[in-house]
Structure formats: structure tokens, C-alpha cells
Subunit: 203 residues, 2 copies
């Protein structure tokens, strides 16, 4: 039974990984099922044993990739300050994308494609139970400026993805230090704004 499970997982993940790799290179529709099959060392028909259609494969792949992101969510603890938790979240997620280029490009393509509209997010369990409360708590506890937490999402996620893509494009190398620096920019924007004494010229 172990063997059976391994075989099962093996072929299925081979198909996933093959698809992920090809989609990054050639896009959704630039990757025919035949190529996916060849790249995964399975026959074309085999794919249809695991997935009803190409669409179903893409949808399942989305879940597969999102699950991989789960690990980047830092557990709350009493050691790190809220700010440091945020920085860690931002940097970890960005590093994950940099390390999993295929996943990033697939996700970006998926989220900007019409697939998204036709498939209400099924997997947001993770998002709803971990991420939303994390930021909501930040607002409630006074660490983040008072605002609809939904206003935060585009800013934070957008910056993470953009930075990862920027790094991967080769235009700029984000060292860990640079990543933290960028995360800090975002943090300085969303944190509760202190009373300020400006030190730069007033126009």
C-alpha cells in the first residue's frame, strides 16, 4: 500500500511539476497536454486518469501551489515583536517566490487569467484563518494605522510579488538585507504613524 501511494503521488506530482515548469516557459496555452505528458514521462492518457480535463489540472495545480505557500506564514510567538513578525512574513514570502520561480509565475498567470473569475477561491481557508486575523490584530492592537485591513492587502501582497519578480528578472539582486529594507519601507507605510519631526526641506 505504501508503494501504491508512492506511485500515485509520484505520477501526479510529476504531472504537476511538469506543468508548472512548462507554463512558466510557454504560458497556459502554449503548453499542450502532449508536452506536459512527455515532460512528466507519462502517456497523454494518463493525465486524464488523474484530472478530468486540462482546466481541472490547472485548478488542482493552483491548490497545489498555494499549499506550498503555507509554510511561509510565521507562527505568532512571544519572542518577536509585531513589527518583526511582519518583516519576517514579508521576507519569507518573497524568498519563497524567489526560490520557486515556477510557482510565482504560475500564480501570477492564474490570478490574472479568466480562470480566477470562473473559480471563486476555494483555498482561502489558509488566508482567512491565518493572514486576515494577523493583520486585523495588528490594527486592533495599534501597531498598524487604523484602516480597513482590506486596504492593506494590495499594498503588501503587491509589493512582495513585485519585488520577487524584480529580483528574478535580473535587474536587481535582492540580498536578504535588501529584502528586509524593502519590507521596512512597507512597514513604515502601514505602521501607526508617529508624531513626526521632519528633517527634510519643506517645500
Amino acid at each position: 500500500m505504501n508503494v501504491q501511494l508512492n506511485n500515485f503521488t509520484c505520477k501526479k506530482t510529476a504531472i504537476f511539476d511538469s506543468t508548472l515548469c512548462l507554463i512558466k516557459e510557454h504560458g497556459f496555452h502554449g503548453t499542450p497536454m502532449s508536452l506536459i505528458a512527455k515532460n512528466a514521462n507519462v502517456a497523454a492518457g494518463t493525465i486524464y486518469h488523474y484530472f478530468e480535463s486540462k482546466d481541472a489540472l490547472i485548478k488542482a495545480l493552483y491548490i497545489y501551489v498555494k499549499d506550498g505557500l503555507a509554510d511561509t506564514i510565521p507562527l505568532e510567538n512571544n519572542i518577536l515583536s509585531y513589527k518583526d513578525l511582519f518583516i519576517q512574513y514579508w521576507v519569507d514570502q518573497c524568498e519563497y517566490f524567489i526560490a520557486h520561480e515556477n510557482a510565482l509565475y504560475f500564480l501570477e498567470q492564474y490570478l490574472t487569467s479568466p480562470y480566477r473569475n470562473s473559480n471563486p477561491e476555494i483555498e482561502s481557508k489558509l488566508f482567512l484563518t491565518r493572514i486576515v486575523p494577523f493583520f486585523q490584530k495588528g490594527i486592533d492592537s495599534g501597531h498598524i494605522r487604523k484602516m480597513d485591513y482590506q486596504l492593506l492587502m494590495p499594498v503588501i501582497h503587491g509589493s512582495i510579488v513585485a519585488a520577487a519578480k524584480y529580483h528574478l528578472s535580473g535587474h536587481y539582486e535582492f540580498t536578504k538585507e535588501k529584502l528586509r529594507e524593502t519590507a521596512l519601507i512597507i512597514w513604515d507605510g502601514i505602521k501607526k504613524q508617529p508624531t513626526t519631526i521632519t528633517t527634510h526641506p519643506i517645500i
Copy 2:
């Protein structure tokens, strides 16, 4: 000649707009040339009078859309402060995307597709001559914190696009005031950080 030019422009832009509209709805490859033609009220063959191939059409469309963005770049003047220029830039660009949903989704799809890699950006003239100097000047003059200006790009552009998409998704209505508020978050992040007196609890 004017009439000829008009006819020319008319069919060509009809094809552009038809493509833009269909791509938003069905994606790159979900939009066959035949549909583009029908939607633009031209014959399938006509498209090939203006564009060598579907690929060429997509590339030309990219330029077409980017040119439309040109108007959102605020001219520098002596009335607005640098900060206000930035806010205006951010809000204008975001409003443009909200008003031109098709353009936004096309751009997002294009930039996340393999097209981008196979076609080094031709059109960055605008980008290089207007936007880069604007931000470089902000850094040099001490309005923006000292950092590689290239670090700024992902943060700023990412937040603009993400906010526009968020609004368009219907999750949240960005009034002009909310847009300014969001732009201010970004500004508070990138501006030269003042000496601070924190007013929230220190952990």
C-alpha cells in the same frame, strides 16, 4: 488623405479595442482571431492587413495601451510639492486603470506571460525619460529616502495595480479619498524617514 487616415485608424483601433475587450474576458488564447474580427466588425483577413500575426497584434496592442498611460504622468511644476506630485501620480495612474479595466487586465496578462521575455520592452522611452528621472530626482533632492531607485519601482507600481484590481474586484470601493489615503501609505514608506517619536506601545 485625412479620410484615408481616419479609415485606417478606425479599423485598426477597432481591432485593438475589440482585442482588449475580449482578452479581458477570455484571456489571450481564449480569444480567436475570428472573434476579434467579428467583434471589431471586420473580416478575419483584414486583421492580417494591419498585423503580421496574432503575436504581432498582441505586441502592438501592448504599445497602444502603454501609450494610453502616458497622460497620467504629471508634469512637474512649481505649484505642487514633490509629495503632492507623487500622490497625484499614484492616484492618476490608479484611476486610469480603474477607468480602463481592459487595459489593466491586458497589461497584467501581458507582463506575466512569456511574451514579455521574448520581447524586451521597446516602449520604455516614456518610462526612461519621465518616470525614472522623476524618482531619481526625488532621491537626490532628499524627499525620498536614500535607496536604489529601482527598489522603488516594485513597491509603487505593484501597489497601484493591486489597488486598482482590488477596487475592480468589487471587494472594496476606492473613493478618491481612499485612493489618496493609500497613496499616502506608500508615500509614508518611501519618504525620507524623519526622526520619530513613537506614540504606540513599544513591545
